[in-house]
């Protein structure tokens, strides 16, 4: 059984809760190697999403993803706003107006999201950014196949270790790159938020099933 608009909406609401819960953690990760706003940026964006979901509930998975994208673009700011915004916009385009997403559609959407982030931010694996979580997540999702929950679980697992892999890295993109060698030894906040979002999506898919 696939993933309907209301499943996606439920998943986004759950993700908003996760972003609020992890706000301080993400702020503190960003405080160490950035400007201490990533958690607040994500919380602000997902909080804004909640009221938009209330006022005009989207009718397809793609519309939900598009609403998420435009909300993030217009409320998050910083690097994360346009990057996540583009990611979800590309994901929305990838799923088109499907009424239900199966595992393959989700994997395709994830791939499109990654392409969007790379198109905008030009980061590669090893630059210590969200790309370090997304690239392994997309590979794992595509390799996993199967139902939505299996695809997302594979993506979330891979994103988690991808995020962890940023710890020893010296940043080469984003604000952390100003720190040079001093950026090593810290988890990248954007990689962490990517991992948190994918885990939350995977949990939602498991519950929905």
């Amino acid at each position: 059984m696939g993933c309907t608009a209301s499943d996606v909406i439920a998943a986004l609401r759950a993700a908003a809760v996760v972003m609020a819960e992890h706000r301080d953690e993400l702020v503190n990760l960003d405080r160490a190697i950035g400007d201490a706003d990533h958690g607040e940026n994500m919380r602000r964006g997902f909080t804004a999403l909640l009221s938009k979901l209330d006022s005009s509930p989207p009718e397809t998975p793609g519309a939900a993803l598009k609403l998420l994208a435009t909300t993030l673009i217009s409320t998050v700011g910083g690097a994360a706003g346009p990057l996540y915004g583009t990611a979800f916009l590309r994901a929305a385009t990838a799923v088109g107006d499907l009424a239900e997403l199966d595992g393959a559609a989700v994997a395709k959407a994830l791939h499109a999201a990654l392409d969007g982030v790379v198109a905008r931010g030009k980061a590669e694996v090893g630059d210590k950014t969200m790309v370090d979580a997304l690239v392994p997540a997309v590979s794992a999702a595509e390799a996993a196949g199967g139902e939505v929950d299996a695809v997302l679980k594979a993506a979330a697992d891979a994103a988690a270790s991808g995020a962890e892999s940023t710890v020893p890295l010296v940043a080469r993109k984003g604000r952390a790159s100003y720190l040079g060698e001093r950026s090593a030894g810290h988890l990248d906040p954007g990689a962490r938020s990517t991992s948190l979002l994918l885990r939350s999506f995977a949990d939602s898919a498991r519950v929905a099933r």
Partner: protein, 333 residues
């Protein structure tokens, strides 16, 4: 955290309201989305000069909105670049039919958000050009970083480009002028204390009583190096030498020297530092022809300073001297 605020969530909005109340003759604050617009905007047949960035750097940029400088400023959340719809709205509100020049500081977030805004504005049929300022010599400019940050040079750039726009210079020439300024302005900063972002509630970094961070940006991010604090002579030399050697500035050059407080450093220390910088430049045979001293691009209540040097020629001197009437910079009017 002790601040004169009511709630971290509403700081930016409430400060904008206060700004509106204080400077109704100069500017109009729009709040949804947040844009600070010159009171007489749009000015017909004039290129709109627009900038923006995270809040917490006051008076930048809202304090530079007015005749002879910015047509609009887009304030983001504290230390967070504004969103594209703020910038797009600013372009719309200030469109006098001659296009808009966006002045973007080189941070990934600012660049990406202004990029999207430029696309949105273009879609509305307004001609938009962007320039990215990256004057911070503390950051290695290489393929393996996000490049140099935009810092103190931004203030000088906005003044000079704003003056030219006021005189009716066309978008294309304005863009060239901006690139020229960016090409010959360099900055570097240091912090004696950190700052506390309202929504964080704790200092962005910790510094012992005998340490300073050198090569900081303007977002409370740690610098490249932590060194013993030392004397004012040491501090000023530590900022000035890398700046001078970077461009390089040479004997015989005419410059504007901008001695900036990061927010919490009092004027008595700033003047003291400025005097040292003037002396060191004189020793190198560099002529300081214009100067700006004060808190103009800040990091909340951070104690510290930055120095900016801009190489001058007659054109830039004339544009610098041209009348400006904003909340933070005013002369000739």
């Amino acid at each position: 955290m002790k601040k004169i605020i009511n709630d971290p969530e509403t700081v930016v909005l409430e400060a904008l309201k206060g700004m509106q109340a204080a400077h109704a003759d100069l500017l109009t604050v729009h709040t949804d989305p947040a844009v600070v617009v010159r009171a007489d905007a749009p000015v017909a047949r004039k290129v709109a000069v627009i900038s923006g960035g995270g809040s917490g750097h006051e008076p930048m940029h809202g304090g530079f909105v007015g005749r002879g400088m910015l047509d609009a400023a887009c304030p983001g959340a504290v230390f967070t670049s504004p969103t594209p719809d703020q910038v797009a709205e600013a372009v719309k509100l200030t469109d006098g039919g001659a296009g808009a020049l966006l002045i973007v500081k080189n941070y990934t977030g600012d660049v990406l958000n202004f990029e999207t805004a430029a696309e949105l504005a273009a879609a509305e049929g307004i001609e938009v050009r962007s320039v990215v300022i990256d004057d911070d010599v503390a950051v290695k400019d290489s393929l393996y970083t996000a490049g140099r940050r935009g810092v103190g040079g931004t203030v000088l750039l906005e003044k000079i480009v704003g003056a030219a726009a006021e005189r009716g210079v066309k978008l294309e020439d304005l863009e060239s002028l901006a690139r020229k300024v960016i090409g010959q302005v360099r900055s570097m900063g240091l912090a004696l204390t950190s700052c506390t972002v309202p929504h964080v509630g704790e200092p962005s970094f910790a510094l012992a009583d005998d340490e300073m961070e050198i090569g900081i940006g303007i977002h409370g991010e740690p610098g490249r190096q932590r060194v013993p604090a030392g004397t004012a002579d040491d501090m000023v030399a530590a900022l000035l030498n890398p700046i001078v050697e970077d461009l390089p500035f040479s004997s015989g050059d005419r410059v504007l020297l901008f001695t900036n407080s990061m927010g919490g450093t009092p004027l008595i220390e700033l003047y003291l530092a400025h005097g040292i910088a003037e002396r060191l430049l004189a020793e190198r045979g560099i002529t300081v022809e214009r100067r700006l001293v004060g808190p103009f691009i800040t990091s909340l209540e951070m104690q510290g300073m930055s120095l900016t040097l801009l190489k001058l020629d007659d054109e830039l001197v004339e544009l610098w001297d041209a009348p400006v009437h904003t909340a933070a910079l005013r002369w000739g009017v």
